[in-house]
C-alpha cells in the first residue's frame, strides 16, 4: 500500500512534451498504386486520412515517407487500450507549487502544423476517438476543455490514422461516426515482383531468396481464415531475409522469423515449416 505523501514534491521539468520529428532522410517506400497522389490530394484539401490494411504491409513506412515528401514534422501515437483523451490532448502537471499545462501529442501536432499519425486507432479507448471528431471534419478544431483553449488547426496540420479491418474482436470495430470522416486508403501486400524488390532493398539478400520468401508468404496468405488470422506480412519477410543475409540457414530463419511469429499451433507450425522446406 502506498504511503500518503507528506508534502507535494516539486517535479522535475516536464519532459513529457512530445517532439514533432522532422524526417530528414528519405524513407524507402515503393508505391503499390496511386496512394501517394491520393494522400497528397487529401493533404492539399485538408482532409484527414485513414490507412486501412493488414499488419506489416507498409502503412507506417508510407506515412513516414509522406511526412518526408511533404516536409512536415511527424507525430506518431501508438494507441493502446489505456490511451485516454487526456493522453492525446494534454494535462496539468505540478511543479514547484504550481500547475503547468503540458500539451499531449495531438495538441502539439496541431500547434506545430505537423502530421499526427494515430497508429492502430481501434486499440485506444472508445472515448479517445471522439476527441478527434471536431478535428476531423471541416471545423478542424481541438477543444481542450481542461485548459480552456480552442485550438484551430493550421492548414499544414493533417490527421492520419491506421486501422486493421482484419481484427476479429467485435469490440474493436471503428465507429461509423469516426470512420466516415476520413479519406480511406486501402493497403494490401504488394504484388510478387514489387515485394521481391522490397525484400532485396531492405535486407540486402539475393533475388532468388527473395523470390522463395514471397512464394512462402503467398502460401501462408492462402491460409488466412483457415487456421491463420493473418498471412506473413512483408515486414516478416524482411526480417527473415535479414537473418538469412547474416548466414542463418533459411529453414531456421523462416521458422523463427515467420512460422513462430504467425502461430502457436503445433500443426500449423509444422505446415509452415513444410512450406519452407518446399520453397527453398
Amino acid at each position: 500500500m502506498p504511503t500518503k505523501p507528506t508534502k507535494v514534491a516539486p517535479l522535475a521539468t516536464p519532459s513529457l512534451q512530445t517532439e514533432a520529428r522532422f524526417i530528414t532522410t528519405q524513407p524507402y517506400y515503393e508505391a503499390v498504386g496511386n496512394e501517394i497522389a491520393l494522400f497528397e490530394a487529401a493533404y492539399a484539401s485538408t482532409l484527414p486520412v485513414l490507412l486501412k490494411g493488414p499488419t506489416g504491409c507498409g502503412k507506417t513506412r508510407f506515412i513516414e515517407h509522406m511526412a518526408w515528401k511533404l516536409k512536415r514534422p511527424l507525430v506518431t501515437v501508438s494507441c493502446h487500450d489505456d490511451l485516454t483523451a487526456a493522453d492525446l490532448v494534454g494535462r496539468y502537471l505540478i511543479t514547484s507549487n504550481e500547475t503547468v499545462w503540458v500539451d499531449g501529442p495531438l495538441a502539439h501536432a496541431v500547434r506545430a502544423g505537423a502530421i499526427c499519425y494515430l497508429d492502430e486507432v481501434v486499440e485506444a479507448r472508445r472515448d479517445t476517438t471522439v476527441v478527434i471528431h471536431p478535428l476531423a471534419d471541416d471545423r478542424r478544431i481541438l477543444p481542450m476543455e481542461k485548459h480552456g483553449e480552442l485550438l484551430q488547426a493550421p492548414p499544414e496540420f493533417l490527421l492520419a490514422m491506421s486501422y486493421n479491418p482484419g481484427y476479429q474482436s467485435v469490440l474493436k470495430e471503428l465507429k461509423q461516426s469516426t470512420r466516415q470522416r476520413f479519406v480511406a486508403i486501402d493497403f494490401d501486400y504488394p504484388d510478387s515482383t514489387l515485394e521481391e524488390k522490397i525484400i532485396v532493398t531492405e535486407s540486402g539478400t539475393d533475388a532468388s531468396t527473395a523470390a522463395a520468401l514471397v512464394r512462402l508468404a503467398q502460401m501462408t496468405r492462402n491460409l488466412k481464415g483457415n487456421g491463420l488470422d493473418e498471412g506473413a506480412s512483408t515486414r516478416l519477410l524482411v526480417h527473415a531475409a535479414k537473418l538469412i543475409a547474416r548466414g542463418i540457414p533459411a529453414a531456421t530463419a523462416c521458422h523463427s522469423a515467420i512460422a513462430e511469429a504467425l502461430s502457436d499451433d503445433p500443426e500449423m507450425l509444422r505446415a509452415i515449416d513444410e512450406f519452407v522446406a518446399a520453397v527453398f
Partner: protein, 700 residues
C-alpha cells in the same frame, strides 16, 4: 486396477452394448469367446470403442468387436485407433457397407506395418490440408483412396504409407503425392482430353498409366522451379536420373500435349513404373473440372453483376435485373507470371478504370485462371442469366399465408421471410415454436468434464484474465497513482485555509463486462453422430468458461421441417443459472430435421434484444448451409434469407458471428457474415477446444 473379464462377463457386457444388432442367429457368445483371451487393458479398449462407435451405428460396433482380436495381434493401440477412425470416416461418408468393409479388411492395414514405421493419413491429414490449402489458394479437399488421384477438387491419398523405414520419410511421400496432385490441376494436366488421348491404344488402361507417369515427370520439372524442396524429395525417392527419352518434358514450356505426343512414341516401349509416389489419372476428373468451370462462369457473372449493381453503378434503377450491359463494362487483363512461376496476375477494369475486386470475386477469378489460364471473352458477356430464376418463380405459386393450419398456442411466433427474387418479405411465412429440450439423465457432462479436465483448468485461467475491463477510479484514499485533479483542488483548498482532503489517488478497478451472448446451435439431422457429440462437448466447455467470466449467456438450438414447423429448442435461457437442469438439457441435445436459419436468427435476435447490454452477440454453431425440406429454401433463396436476417440483426444492434465446421463455408459465409465475422473449425474433434477459445478472442 480393474481385472480381466471372463467370457461370461464379456458376454453380458456385449449383449448390453450390442443388443440392437444381435439375434438368435447372431449371438454375442463367439465375440465374447474371442475377446476373452485379450489382456485386461485391451478388453477395456475394445468395450470403450464399441460404446463410442455405437453412437453412430450399432452394426459398425459389432463389426469392430468382431475384427478387434485379429487387430491386436498385429497393431498397437495407436494404429488401431487410426484404423477405427478411418472406418468411421468411411461410414460417415459412404455408409454402412463401405464402413464395415474397412473393419473386415484388417489385412490391408496390417500387411504393410512390419519393419517400417507407418505414416497414416489420419495423423497427418491436418498438416497436409494446411499444406495444400497454402499451395492452392482455392479450396481443395483431402480424402483417402487406395490409389492416389484427384478430380481437381479433392485430392485422394492412400490411407497409410509404409514404404520407407521412418515415419518422416513416409510422410514426405504424402507431401510429394499431395503436391503432384495439386500440380495436375495447377499446371494444366486436364487442359487436354485425356480419355480421348488414351482410347486409341490396344490397352487404354496401360496407356493411361504411362501417361500418368509422363505427366508426373513433367510436373516434377514444373514443381522444381517453384518448390525446389519437394523436387529434391522426389529426386531422392526416384534414386536415378530421368530417362533421356523423356527429357522434352523437363523443358520450361512443356505442356500436357508434349506428354501425349510422347505417349504415342513410347507406348509399348517402356511401361510405367509403379511407385508409392506415382499418382494416377482418372477421366472422372474431367467432368468435375467442367462442372466447376461452368459453375464458376455463372458465379462470376452473378458476382460481378451484383458488385456493379451495389457498389460501382448504383445509379441504375434498382428494379431492373443487372444484365448484359453491366457485365460488358468489365474488362480483365490476365498476365501469367512466367518468369518465376509464382502465379497469375490480373487487373480488373470497370469502364476502363482499374479496380481492386472484393475478396470473393478475386478468389473466383483466381480459380478460373488456374483452370483456364485466361478469362475467356464470353465470360464477360451476359447470357440468358434469368432462366434459373424464372424456373424458381414458377415453383412459387402457393404463397399462401401460413396462419390457417396452425394451432394457436401461446408459444407460437410468426416471422417474415425474405424472398430475394421478389425483393420483399413473405409476410408471416414461418411458424416458429419454442420447445424444451428433453433433459437426458446420462453422465455426458461429467464425462466431458473429466475428458477435458486439463484443458478446462487452462481455459478457466485464460478466462479469468479476461474478466472485467480496466477503469480508473478517481479521488481514492489509496491507489497506485496521483490524482492530479484532486491534488490541484486540494492545494487550492490548503491555500485558502480549508482542510486538506486525503483522497488524492487514482486506482484501477476491474469493471464488469457489459456483454450478453446467445449461442444458436445447429440441431439439424446432419449433425448426427460425432458432430452432435462435439457440439455438446463444446457447450459444456463454453459454459465452464462463461461461468468464470460472468458474461450473461443463453443457449438455444434450432431445427425444423418446412416453414410451418420451425423449432427453437430452449437449452439455457438468459435468466437461468448453469445448474443441473441445464446440464441435462445440454446432454439431451439430439439431431432433429433441417436448418432453416433465417427464422431462427430473427427469433433469437428478438430474445437477445430484450436484454440490456452494451454488446450483444449472436454466435451460431453450424455445420452447413441453410437448408430445408422442400419449398426451395436450399441454395440462393436460403442464403439470401439468412443474409437478410443477419442484416436485420445488425440493424437491431446485435453482432452476429458464426463458427462452422463446413469445409465449404468459405464459399458462402463471407457473403452472410462479412469477411471476418466467422471461423471455420475444419476438424470436428477440435471443436470443443476451439469454441471457447474463439469466444475469448472475439470478446477480448
Amino acid at each position: 486396477m480393474s481385472k480381466k473379464f471372463t467370457a461370461a462377463e464379456l458376454h453380458n457386457k456385449l449383449v448390453y452394448l450390442l443388443s440392437p444388432v444381435l439375434s438368435s442367429r447372431r449371438t454375442a457368445a463367439p465375440l465374447a469367446g474371442s475377446l476373452a483371451p485379450l489382456m485386461c487393458e485391451q478388453q477395456d479398449f475394445v468395450l470403450h470403442w464399441i460404446e463410442v462407435i455405437n453412437r453412430s451405428n450399432y452394426e459398425m460396433g459389432y463389426q469392430f468387436a468382431a475384427a478387434a482380436p485379429a487387430a491386436f495381434k498385429k497393431l498397437d493401440n495407436a494404429a488401431i485407433e487410426a484404423w477405427i477412425i478411418q472406418a468411421m470416416d468411411t461410414y460417415d461418408r459412404d455408409g454402412l457397407h463401405r464402413g464395415s468393409q474397412v473393419f473386415k479388411q484388417i489385412e490391408t492395414w496390417t500387411q504393410a506395418a512390419s519393419g517400417t514405421e507407418m505414416a497414416t493419413f489420419e495423423e497427418h491429414a491436418h498438416v497436409l490440408e494446411l499444406f495444400v490449402c497454402g499451395l492452392a489458394g482455392r479450396p481443395l479437399q483431402l480424402d483417402t483412396a487406395n490409389e492416389p488421384w484427384t478430380d481437381t477438387e479433392t485430392l485422394y491419398l492412400p490411407p497409410h504409407i509404409a514404404v520407407l523405414p521412418s515415419k518422416a520419410e513416409n510422410f514426405s511421400i504424402y507431401k510429394v503425392l499431395a503436391t503432384l496432385l495439386w500440380a495436375q490441376g495447377r499446371y494444366g494436366t486436364f487442359h487436354a482430353d485425356l480419355a480421348a488421348a488414351c482410347i486409341g491404344f490396344a490397352e487404354p488402361a496401360r496407356a493411361t498409366a504411362l501417361l500418368s507417369h509422363l505427366e508426373n515427370l513433367r510436373l516434377e520439372a514444373r514443381i522444381s522451379r517453384v518448390l525446389p524442396g519437394i523436387a529434391r524429395d522426389l529426386a531422392r525417392l526416384r534414386g536415378s536420373a530421368i530417362d533421356d527419352r523423356c527429357a522434352v518434358l523437363t523443358t520450361p514450356n512443356a505442356t500436357v500435349n508434349h506428354s501425349i505426343a510422347l505417349l504415342h512414341r513410347l507406348y509399348g516401349v517402356i511401361d510405367a513404373p509403379r511407385h508409392a509416389w506415382s499418382t494416377q489419372l482418372r477421366p472422372a476428373a474431367q467432368n468435375v473440372r467442367e462442372a466447376r468451370i461452368k459453375r464458376e462462369q455463372s458465379e462470376l457473372a452473378a458476382a460481378l453483376a451484383e458488385w456493379a449493381q451495389n457498389e460501382l453503378a448504383p445509379e441504375n434503377d434498382p428494379g431492373t435485373e443487372p444484365g448484359t450491359e453491366t457485365l460488358e463494362r468489365f474488362q480483365i487483363n490476365a498476365t501469367v507470371n512466367a518468369e518465376n512461376d509464382s502465379g497469375i496476375d490480373f487487373e480488373l477494369q470497370f469502364d476502363g478504370a482499374p479496380l481492386a475486386p472484393p475478396e470473393h470475386v478475386r478468389q473466383l477469378l483466381d480459380s478460373i485462371l488456374q483452370d483456364l489460364g485466361d478469362i475467356p471473352d464470353d465470360y464477360l458477356q451476359g447470357t440468358g442469366a434469368d432462366d434459373a430464376s424464372a424456373r424458381e418463380d414458377a415453383e412459387e405459386n402457393e404463397s399462401t399465408d401460413a396462419r390457417p393450419d396452425t394451432n394457436h398456442e401461446d408459444t407460437t411466433h410468426f416471422y417474415n421471410e425474405w424472398d430475394y427474387k421478389r425483393r420483399h418479405y413473405r409476410k408471416n411465412w414461418c411458424v416458429l415454436r419454442e420447445l424444451d429440450v428433453n433433459p437426458a439423465t446420462n453422465n455426458f457432462v461429467a464425462e466431458t468434464l473429466s475428458k477435458y479436465r486439463p484443458q478446462i483448468t487452462q481455459l478457466r485461467r485464460t478466462f479469468e484474465m479476461l474478466r472485467g475491463e480496466d477503469k480508473v477510479l478517481k479521488r481514492q484514499a489509496v491507489g497506485d497513482d496521483i490524482d492530479f485533479d484532486a491534488l490541484v483542488s486540494a492545494y487550492a483548498d490548503l491555500k485558502s485555509g480549508h482542510e486538506l482532503s486525503d483522497r488524492l489517488f487514482t486506482r484501477r478497478h476491474k469493471n464488469e463486462r457489459d456483454l450478453a451472448v446467445l449461442f444458436m446451435v445447429d440441431m439439424s439431422g446432419s449433425t448426427k453422430g460425432w458432430i452432435n457429440d462435439a457440439e455438446r462437448e463444446s457447450l459444456v466447455m463454453l459454459c465452464e468458461a462463461l461461468e468464470v467470466l460472468g458474461d450473461r449467456y443463453a443457449i438455444y438450438g434450432f431445427s425444423g421441417l418446412t416453414r410451418k414447423r420451425c423449432e427453437i429448442y430452449r437449452i439455457k435461457r438468459f435468466d437461468e443459472t448453469y445448474d443441473n437442469n441445464v446440464r441435462q438439457r445440454i446432454a439431451g441435445i439430439t439431431p432433429q430435421d433441417y436448418t432453416r436459419m433465417g427464422v431462427a436468427i430473427r427469433h433469437l435476435t428478438k430474445l437477445l434484444n430484450q436484454i440490456d447490454a452494451r454488446t450483444k452477440l449472436l454466435i451460431t454453431l453450424s455445420d452447413g448451409k441453410p437448408d430445408d425440406y422442400s419449398d426451395h429454401y436450399r441454395g440462393a433463396y436460403g442464403i439470401e434469407d439468412t443474409r437478410q436476417a443477419l442484416i436485420e440483426a445488425h440493424r437491431a444492434g446485435v453482432k452476429p458471428y458464426c463458427i462452422t465446421i463446413d469445409s465449404e463455408a468459405r464459399d458462402y459465409l463471407p457473403h452472410l457474415y462479412g469477411p471476418v465475422n466467422w471461423t471455420l473449425v475444419d476438424d470436428v474433434k477440435r471443436l470443443p477446444l476451439k469454441v471457447a477459445d474463439i469466444y475469448r478472442r472475439l470478446t477480448a
